[in-house]
């Protein structure tokens, strides 16, 4: 860490980790409701708890992106942040807005549009927060050095804000509603978020492997080129059955199949950089998360996405547990892991800790990753059984759900393992590893 203002990232990382734990706790609650349907039925209905599970995820990932930007932009631009105070005000506004939304959900105050359930005034507050953030980082980049990483990160972050504006458009026509709903949901996670992910990954590769910036930048351009080329028209894979013309089945199938390409490129990129770099950076855990991120994103977003993206396949699997399996592994692999990667790299630097609780962090990596992987397989098998019983044999929805209960129990177990892993990750990042630190400091002079 070279610039004092990078410290402001700590607010965002701390906020993100708190919401991360909350998100997983609510995941456990809804996982329990699925197998024991009367759980909390009066106090916290499934739809409300699910809303909190998904909204908390999105908010903490965004908070992590904000933190990542505040950490890496001063370092890349080689200048202090434009305004640290503005960044702190923005943090509290965002956190209070998110908390207000959650409290509102508990009292059943929401707009009922999946993932965009926030009441209008919260959406407007999000726009204000986004503008404060974009102003702050754009001014920082404008007064400092412009690199491919800062340019692409800014492009991605501006894209996030621009596409969020479509959440304010809420037409009465259900087809139009869905068309533009995907402009937020799809063009975020399969478009501009990939730019943010790739630029953070590029930053980490430069720092952790010591490979020349020129090489990393070339990969970055190829990755984001592939992401936008496939991702924008890939939106078509959501337009199969919502009342849009049939040609979307062709456009969606062809372009979304290519969405695997940028994720595959990220795997090749990260492993090539580590192989070429040869620098033994002391923060092994950050490197593990970076490599894990590209691999899990490739499987979760790429392979599990392709699994049900072709229109004739999706005709059978649409809205089954296959979708849930893909959703969990893709969000974990791409966006949870990139956030934990940058936190694992940045937090010890900000807190001035010698590589801290690395071993615990890596245990967190393996336990969480195993939990999410097991969950993905359980849900995938559930989805295959569901597709066959419900869509091929024509059994009733609830009748089929009973057949899936074994898989749902396994999912709950996997969720519990995930929670344990998450606690280890958060613990390793927040609590200093005292004993080891002393040992290491004592050992150093002898080297």
């Amino acid at each position: 860490m070279k610039y004092d203002s990078q410290k402001v990232a700590l607010y965002y990382f701390a906020g993100a980790l708190v919401l991360f734990v909350a998100q997983i706790l609510f995941g456990l609650v809804i996982g329990t409701i699925v197998v024991l349907p009367n759980t909390l039925s009066e106090l916290l209905p499934f739809n409300i708890a699910r809303m909190i599970h998904t909204n908390a995820l999105i908010v903490w990932l965004l908070m992590g992106f904000f933190g990542a930007s505040y950490y890496l932009i001063p370092e890349e631009a080689e200048t202090e942040l434009y305004s640290t105070r503005l960044a702190i005000v923005q943090f509290w506004l965002f956190l209070i807005g998110a908390a207000a939304a959650v409290v509102g959900y508990l009292f059943h105050i929401h707009e009922g549009r999946e993932f965009l359930e926030q009441p209008l005034w919260i959406k407007l507050a999000i726009v204000v927060v986004a503008l404060m953030f974009l102003f702050n980082i754009t001014m920082t980049v404008l007064k400092g050095r412009k690199t491919a990483i800062t340019n692409i990160l800014l492009l991605g972050l501006w894209g996030i804000a621009v596409f969020f504006l479509f959440s304010l458009y809420n037409p009465a026509n259900l087809i139009m509603d869905k068309i533009f709903w995907w402009w937020v949901v799809h063009l975020w996670v399969e478009g501009v978020w990939e730019l943010v992910m790739a630029s953070i990954l590029a930053f980490l590769m430069i720092k952790l492997t010591g490979v020349d910036r020129e090489v990393v930048e070339k990969w970055l351009y190829v990755i984001i080129g592939l992401a936008l080329f496939s991702g924008i028209l890939g939106t078509g894979h959501h337009y199969y059955w919502i009342g849009t013309p049939g040609y979307w089945q062709w456009i969606g199938s062809v372009f979304s199949t290519l969405e695997v390409a940028p994720f595959f490129a990220m795997v090749v990129f990260t492993f090539m950089m580590v192989w070429k770099g040869g620098r033994a950076h002391p923060n092994k855990a950050a490197l593990l998360w970076s490599l894990g991120c590209s691999v899990f994103a490739f499987f979760g977003a790429g392979v599990w996405g392709f699994l049900h993206t072709l229109a004739p396949v999706n005709y059978i699997t649409h809205g089954t547990q296959i979708t849930a399996a893909h959703g969990h592994l893709a969000f974990y692999g791409a966006y949870v892991m990139i956030n934990i990667a940058i936190m694992t790299y940045a937090m010890p630097n900000i807190l001035k800790r010698e590589p801290y609780n690395q071993l615990l962090n890596m245990w967190g990596f393996w336990i969480t990753s195993s939990g999410v992987t097991f969950m993905t397989f359980a849900l995938t098998f559930a989805g295959v059984v569901q597709s066959h019983l419900q869509r091929v044999l024509g059994m009733g929805f609830m009748e089929v759900q009973e057949q899936l209960s074994l898989f749902y129990w396994m999912r709950l177990g996997a969720g519990l393992a995930t929670f344990i892993g998450v606690v280890l990750i958060v613990w390793s990042l927040v609590v200093p590893g005292k004993a080891k630190q002393v040992g290491r400091v004592a050992a150093q002079p002898a080297e």
Binding site: S230, P245, V254, A261
Partner: protein, 186 residues
């Protein structure tokens, strides 16, 4: 070769900016997927495809093939001229290539309006959906090629000309495959 075009591995050997070649490869994958989709659909619905295909005018497609290939020749001559340092001739050849490209688009538009007048739209059946999607995507690339040409006429460095003409030849190549697959093979 400028700094931007060095150390790209296999892509460094190719003319023009390596990122253009990433785009070209991506485009070939997309059109390849469409050609495969067209061929599979044709095997699944042979009668429908035959009945619809005879409605296409092979001569119109042939004229367009000649227009686009001649345009490709003009573009190649523009690279030659730029290589010899003759910027004025390079610009003229690029202008000629662009005019022929416009001619292609004119013929395409006339063909579309003729088909639409006969009642064949993008949703008529699978053949027409794929016909309009494939030729439409291709025509969109002709338009993009013309935009790139306009930029390169304005800034005609050798790298820019090579980049532009590489893209233009890809547009040629796709048409040369599309024409027999959609118009000729019955």
């Amino acid at each position: 070769m400028s700094d931007d075009t060095e150390n790209w591995g296999a892509l460094s050997e190719l003319p023009g900016n390596p990122l253009m070649w990433v785009l070209i490869l991506s485009e070939l994958m997309v059109f390849g997927a469409f050609f495969a989709a067209f061929s599979v659909s044709r095997v699944l619905h042979p009668a429908m495809f035959l009945a619809d295909q005879v409605r296409l005018d092979r001569l119109v497609g042939g004229v367009n093939t000649m227009l686009l290939l001649t345009s490709g020749l003009a573009a190649a001559l523009a690279v030659n001229a730029r290589g010899m340092g003759d910027i004025r001739r390079c610009r003229l050849w690029l202008g000629g290539a662009a005019l022929l490209g416009l001619g292609f688009l004119g013929v395409k538009l006339a063909e579309y309006s003729d088909k639409a007048a006969q009642g064949f739209g993008i949703e008529t059946d699978t053949f027409w959906t794929l016909f309009y999607l494939m030729t439409g995507f291709h025509a969109a690339h002709v338009v993009l090629g013309l935009v790139i040409m306009a930029i390169v006429v304005w800034k005609p460095s050798l790298e820019n000309v090579e980049t532009c003409v590489s893209f233009w030849h890809m547009v040629d190549l796709i048409w040369v495959l599309l024409y027999p697959i959609v118009y000729l093979i019955r």
